[in-house]
């Protein structure tokens, strides 16, 4: 994830100012900042000439848009049945142990946010998770340790 600071106006210029542009704009904001702030929502509302409350109502409908700050890496671990059957819980426990956070929380260094999510469409290779946009499958407690380590290293190398 590159932290490019766009202005909401730039995004409206890119995606247009009709209501259809709302989700692409919110997605871009979230992609860039891993949060959609109050101020951003008001600015989007102004650019598209819609109510700020509706921007909020729309954003909160979707699980990939958040009005709370998330970490640099958002981990979404599948909690649906086949991943559950193939060992999601031990993987979750391991994640909780090494990150020292519970689902819904972000590590104090702002690197990782841990979430549980519904089926990721990787059921034949469960347990599965996404880290930002990247799928990781056939997880085991051992493999998630390595995966988290590699993201930590990546973060350090910036």
């Amino acid at each position: 994830m590159t932290r490019i600071q766009y202005s909401v106006t730039d995004m409206a210029n890119k995606h247009g100012r009709s209501r259809e542009a709302l989700l692409p704009i919110l997605q871009d904001i979230y992609q860039a900042k891993h949060v959609i702030s109050d101020e951003d929502m008001v600015n989007v509302a102004r650019e598209l000439d819609i109510s700020a409350a509706h921007v909020y109502g729309t954003a909160t409908f979707y699980s990939f848009l958040e009005t709370q700050q998330s970490g640099k890496y958002i981990i979404r671990l599948c909690k649906t049945i086949t991943c559950m059957m193939h060992g999601k819980n031990p993987v979750l426990q391991e994640l909780e142990r090494i990150l020292k956070i519970k689902p819904g929380q972000t590590t104090p260094d702002g690197l990782f946010t841990l979430k549980e999510t519904n089926c990721l469409g990787q059921c034949h290779k469960g347990p599965a998770m996404l880290v930002n946009d990247n799928p990781h499958t056939q997880l085991t407690p051992e493999s998630v340790r390595e995966i988290i380590d590699s993201y930590r290293r990546e973060a350090l190398s910036y």
């Binding site: 259809e20 709302l22 649906t80 990721l120």
Partner: protein, 392 residues
């Protein structure tokens, strides 16, 4: 490993003849192409099973001059992952299907509504789409396809919720009628098809309707891509002929100890072992026994699994993924979940399950969209077949 069932290779066969097939197809009249589709017996693979040729014709018949074709790649049904595979290995077929549909209905703009969980597919798709645009120019077709990313909501796979979402709103399903072929995206006539449906049209253009028709059984023609997961030694994606019995399926895919198969994901039906033989996989055409439609999700459970846990997991899914607008679904899903938990803990008598079965039936009768209507499928089939497991 697969002994009983014929594996097919129509969809995933890597065919690089898109241009030739499109040229050949587009040389024919709209009427001829639609008739072929109808003759082939192709029905929608997104779950509802609407005849594809008829859908295209309805949209074509609408006099509006602005129309859309949308490929539904929101694939959110638990246990389904075939659309992902189709889009990553043969996206050219899907795009070709969209192009032909666009010519027939008179659409200049198509969209692929891609679930956010599949964002990693975008770079590859973008390359294919830009090549496709060049092809459109060579073929003198004024048609463009764009990717619209979902933002994480299972309900947005429901067609009218998908339109709302593309319009920048909450994905709340609309009242029907009006139907998408007259009133879809931005209120314009819209054809919306599942990824696999569109890929099948390509095979029909290429090989003709008869070859497709020859596969499968009455009312359920052609092949179907199945996503197989759960207690199976060979999880994965399989293209199989329609019309098999569940017994044959389990013989090939089960681990020898299969106790139940959930056909069609969380919104599908749970079939216990004793009904494997009598259950046929296909659209509701009732040959013998029961036939079950499916978006292709097949989850196999062996006897070590608690069906209570399975049901709880599904209900948890619905409680979260209901859009929340209509009473039966928003409140009903919560009551079903809390209800089976209360029975399990002994806080409600086992007879409470009967009240919940009635509730599930009311949800089926009164919910606004397919999500709330189909909660009863898994709920009732699991509770009725595994009642003991719910209580003890």
């Amino acid at each position: 490993m697969i002994k009983n069932l014929k594996r097919l290779d129509l969809i995933f066969k890597n065919e690089q003849d898109t241009e030739a097939i499109l040229e050949k197809t587009l040389a024919r009249s709209n009427e001829e192409i639609v008739n072929d589709l109808i003759d082939s017996g192709l029905k929608g693979r997104g779950g509802a099973g609407f005849p594809t040729g008829l859908k295209w014709r309805l949209a074509a018949d609408d006099p509006a001059d602005e129309k859309y074709i949308i490929c539904n790649a929101d694939e959110g049904e638990p246990g389904t992952f075939k659309d992902r595979e189709i889009l990553s290995s043969v996206p050219n077929k899907v795009l070709a299907g969209m192009a032909v549909c666009a010519r027939i209905i008179g659409s200049k703009q198509g969209f692929i509504y891609l679930r956010n969980e599949y964002k990693f597919l975008v770079p590859g798709l973008e390359i294919v789409i830009s090549e496709f645009h060049e092809l459109m120019d060579r073929l003198n077709l004024e048609f463009r396809v764009a990717i619209f990313m979902g933002s994480g909501a299972y309900i947005c796979g429901e067609e009218s919720a998908l339109f709302e979402s593309m319009e920048g709103k909450r994905g709340e399903p609309r009242n029907k009628p009006p139907y998408p072929t007259n009133f879809g995206y931005k209120g314009k006539p819209t054809v919306i098809n599942n990824v696999e449906t569109l890929a099948h049209t390509y095979s029909i253009f290429k090989y003709g309707p008869d070859k497709f028709r020859d596969l499968g059984i009455k009312d359920s023609r052609g092949s179907k891509v199945f996503s197989v997961s759960g207690d199976t030694p060979i999880p994965g994606i399989y293209e199989l002929e329609f019309g098999m019995t569940l017994q044959k399926f389990v013989d090939d895919f089960g681990d020898g100890d299969s106790k139940a198969v959930q056909v069609g994901g969380a919104s599908g039906f749970c079939v216990p072992r004793k009904k494997f033989e009598k259950t046929i996989i296909g659209y509701q055409g009732k040959l013998t026994g029961v036939s079950l439609p499916t978006g292709g999700s097949m989850m196999i459970f062996n006897s070590s699994r608690s069906m209570y846990n399975v049901l709880r997991n599904y209900l948890d899914f619905f409680v979260e993924e209901s859009c929340g607008q209509c009473t039966p679904c928003r409140v009903g899903t919560q009551q079903l979940l809390l209800g089976i938990e209360a029975v399990k803990r002994g806080e409600k008598p086992s007879g409470y399950l009967d009240k919940l079965l009635e509730l599930a039936e009311t949800m089926r009768l009164t919910a606004k969209c397919g999500l709330g209507q189909s909660v009863a499928n898994s709920f009732s089939s699991i509770v009725e077949n595994f009642r003991e497991e719910m209580i003890y």
